[in-house]
């Protein structure tokens, strides 16, 4: 904890920059983790919301400079997209839902690519000159960005925690476990799923908006299914059933991407193998590994064993059961 707080003071600038990027991507991954681990929805289109947030800031910043307005707009746009797409797509189950989300992401990506360059920069992407100004001066330095993004990450984490421990969150979890039963109990399952999906979309959009301030460049790739898939990898590798798991997955992924690529051309291979291993072994990601290290002593919740589920189990193989808090 203390380490994270004081990092920019002693770490080389490459590390600070890296961790800053990780904060943002972790937020993105956690939002996907929310719908996967708590609402049971697997999406290959989550980047659509991230990209929407990123592009909103990129485009609007040419006319508006107030950071709060930009961030709020980005979040709202993403939330709106999530609400609409969720409402339309929840009618389809499992694999169809997956493919619809993929298509949704690609439509947005293609749209950004084909739109006139003056608006979205087209397939070349858009260079953005914008500085984050939250009311006490422009945040340009690496240190400043580090703390800001760290703060954004914390806000996101807190929000997610709030939701998960709220009655609404519990109900959503119940829906994931057994939707029919919840419906029989009288809950309007669609509403809860939609709420979770919209919240996740909003957070992803917020992350995307922050990323624009960090990267100063947006590209249609931010909207597409491959980036969504990368988020999926982050969630699974980090541990799908927990809130922080995806954050760890994001850290792992980003570090791999930045460092391995300098030593070998084949970092995707490495990442793919790691990912496949995690899937094959059915563990709850990195989080599970750390849990095992800490020992049974700290497990909470009823029957708190973190053993992986059978392969027959249709839910995400993870240490979910010990997560009620």
């Amino acid at each position: 904890m203390l380490l994270m707080l004081s990092l920019p003071l002693f770490a080389p600038s490459s590390i600070t920059g890296l961790v800053t990027e990780i904060f943002i991507l972790a937020l993105f991954a956690m939002s996907l983790g929310l719908i996967m681990g708590y609402a049971g929805l697997v999406s290959l289109g989550h980047a659509a919301f991230f990209g929407a947030g990123a592009y909103t800031v990129a485009i609007l910043s040419q006319h508006v400079s107030n950071a709060y307005v930009l961030l709020a707009s980005a979040t709202l746009v993403a939330a709106g997209l999530a609400a609409v797409s969720g409402a339309l797509f929840f009618r389809s189950a499992g694999a169809y839902f997956l493919m619809l989300t993929l298509a949704f992401a690609q439509v947005l990506s293609s749209a950004a690519s084909q739109a006139p360059s003056s608006l979205t920069g087209g397939s070349d992407g858009l260079n953005v000159t914008v500085a984050l100004n939250l009311g006490f001066g422009e945040i340009n330095s690496q240190t400043g960005l580090y703390y800001t993004m760290g703060g954004a990450f914390l806000i996101g984490y807190v929000l997610l925690r709030l939701f998960v421990s709220s009655p609404a969150g519990m109900i959503t979890r119940g829906i994931m476990d057994n939707e029919l039963r919840m419906r029989a109990l009288g809950y309007r399952t669609l509403d809860y799923k939609l709420f979770a999906y919209t919240l996740a979309g909003a957070l992803a959009g917020f992350a995307g908006a922050m990323y624009t301030y960090f990267n100063l460049y947006v590209t249609p790739d931010f909207l597409g299914w491959i980036f969504s898939g990368e988020a999926l990898i982050m969630v699974i590798v980090g541990g799908a059933g927990t809130l922080l798991g995806p954050a760890l997955g994001a850290a792992f992924f980003t570090i791999l991407q930045n460092y391995v690529s300098f030593y070998t051309d084949y970092w995707a291979l490495v990442m793919g193998v790691v990912f496949v291993l995690f899937v094959l072994l059915g563990r709850g990601g990195i989080v599970h590994i750390f849990r095992s290290l800490w020992g049974m002593f700290f497990r909470t919740g009823p029957g708190g064993s973190a053993e992986p589920q059978n392969a027959d189990d249709r839910t995400i193989p993870s240490a979910r059961k010990g997560e009620m808090s």
């Binding site: 380490l3 080389p12 490459s14 590390i15 397939s123 807190v158 990267n215 460049y217 570090i255 460092y259």
Partner: protein
């Protein structure tokens, strides 16, 4: 922001442990990674080594361009025994895959390693994404290929110098010649991105000023494999000539399909340098016969620097050099000359030396115009002839000192 967190509902023990675990894990990972992250140019006694970062497309449809630049640069380095005026030179080439986002990532890595001179990029969007940051980070980018006009106009920077050509020059060079000698009704095809629009626009305005008329146009997405629809439209329009701006594999495919669909020999094909480049003509084979191109460089150019260049290049790579190879070679030449003039590898000194610099290139003498930080050079008109085994280019005219204005023409 911290206060918000503590006013939240109490954090349970499990949460704390998870957070701590995350922090610990993070620190462990970063600690390990940190060892890999530091390092870079260590200053030793004597002359400081010069670290150059190469941002090139080494995969994808434009891989041949990235490789050519690297080959040219490596030949130059070999000639100088990897030393510029006593400074040891280390170039590390990285594959950007033509993706500006990857460029940004690599750029951040280079900067954090202390590299202050970069070469590249192949594609314009990559250079455009980097241009705005150079001055802030005190990083010099010697542009070995990216041709967007804005790099000399709205994004002009004291830290950005182009040694290749701008889309404006690519378009206007020889437009007059074409209108006079080949035909007054043209159908244009360009690649569907910034460069395509700029080249075609520049060509069009110069061509129309010379009395020509563009009767049809098309833009094909970079990486297009199938030009059938475009070529069919060309046939229908029946122009005096087709003017094409295509690169790499796109150019190869277009030439082959232009032939197989029956247009070769019927409607003259005129194009930019790639259509006469040996990389393209070798792969396209006889289909490339008769094509006219305008280029700042052909291996058949008759000057001393070029003669030596061609001999050495052929010896090292067993193939003839083309314009892109020459651009890579000249990147080395320009940097070396700047180091010599500046007497050091310090970025600020190099910037001063680079303004208005001149070198003897295989293309003839080239000069950096301080108004645009872009190169001023001759263009040559060449025709592809088939010598029985392969395509060779015969230079049929010279266009002297082609330049670009200091700001966009209205």
């Amino acid at each position: 922001m911290m206060s918000r967190r503590s006013s939240q509902s109490r954090i349970g023990r499990a949460d704390f442990l998870r957070l701590a675990g995350a922090g610990f894990a993070g620190a462990a990972i970063f600690g390990v990674a940190g060892c890999g992250g530091s390092g870079g140019g260590s200053s030793s006694q004597g002359n400081k080594p010069l670290a150059i970062g190469g941002l090139l497309t080494l995969s994808g449809p434009f891989a041949s361009l990235g490789e050519s630049i690297r080959d040219g640069m490596n030949l130059f380095l070999e000639e100088r025994s990897n030393e510029f005026s006593g400074h040891r030179v280390n170039v590390s080439y990285e594959d950007t895959q033509g993706d500006p986002q990857t460029d940004l990532r690599l750029y951040r890595q280079f900067v954090s390693k202390g590299t202050h001179v970069l070469m590249g990029t192949v594609l314009s969007p990559e250079a455009l994404a980097l241009a705005g940051r150079l001055e802030r980070d005190k990083v010099i980018l010697v542009d070995s290929n990216a041709a967007a006009n804005d790099l000399s106009w709205s994004k002009k920077s004291d830290y950005l110098y182009r040694v290749s050509q701008s889309n404006y020059q690519t378009g206007v060079a020889g437009a007059h010649y074409i209108a006079e000698k080949i035909g007054k009704r043209a159908f244009t095809i360009g690649m569907d991105y910034v460069a395509g629009y700029e080249v075609i626009k520049a060509f069009r305005s110069a061509y129309e000023k010379a009395g020509g008329k563009v009767i049809g146009h098309a833009f094909s997405p970079p990486g297009t494999n199938d030009f059938t629809s475009y070529i069919t439209n060309m046939k229908q329009a029946n122009p005096d000539l087709v003017f094409a701006f295509l690169s790499g594999t796109d150019a190869i495919r277009f030439i082959q399909q232009y032939d197989s669909l029956g247009l070769k020999g019927k409607i003259p094909l005129v194009g930019t340098d790639q259509l006469g480049s040996s990389t393209v003509t070798k792969a396209a084979g006889r289909s490339a016969e008769g094509i006219i191109s305008r280029s700042p460089y052909y291996p058949s150019l008759d000057n001393e620097t070029n003669r030596r260049f061609v001999v050495r290049f052929k010896k090292k790579y067993s193939r003839e050099p083309d314009l892109i190879d020459c651009q890579g070679y000249d990147t080395g030449g320009v940097i070396a000359q700047a180091v010599k003039k500046a007497g050091s590898t310090d970025p600020a000194a190099l910037v001063e030396a680079l303004k208005g610099i001149s070198i003897d290139s295989p293309r003839g003498k080239i000069t950096i115009d301080p108004r645009t930080n872009n190169v001023v050079q001759n263009y040559y008109v060449g025709k592809n002839v088939w010598d029985g085994k392969q395509i060779k280019v015969k230079v049929i005219s010279t266009l002297e000192r082609v330049t670009m204005p200091a700001s966009p023409p209205s």
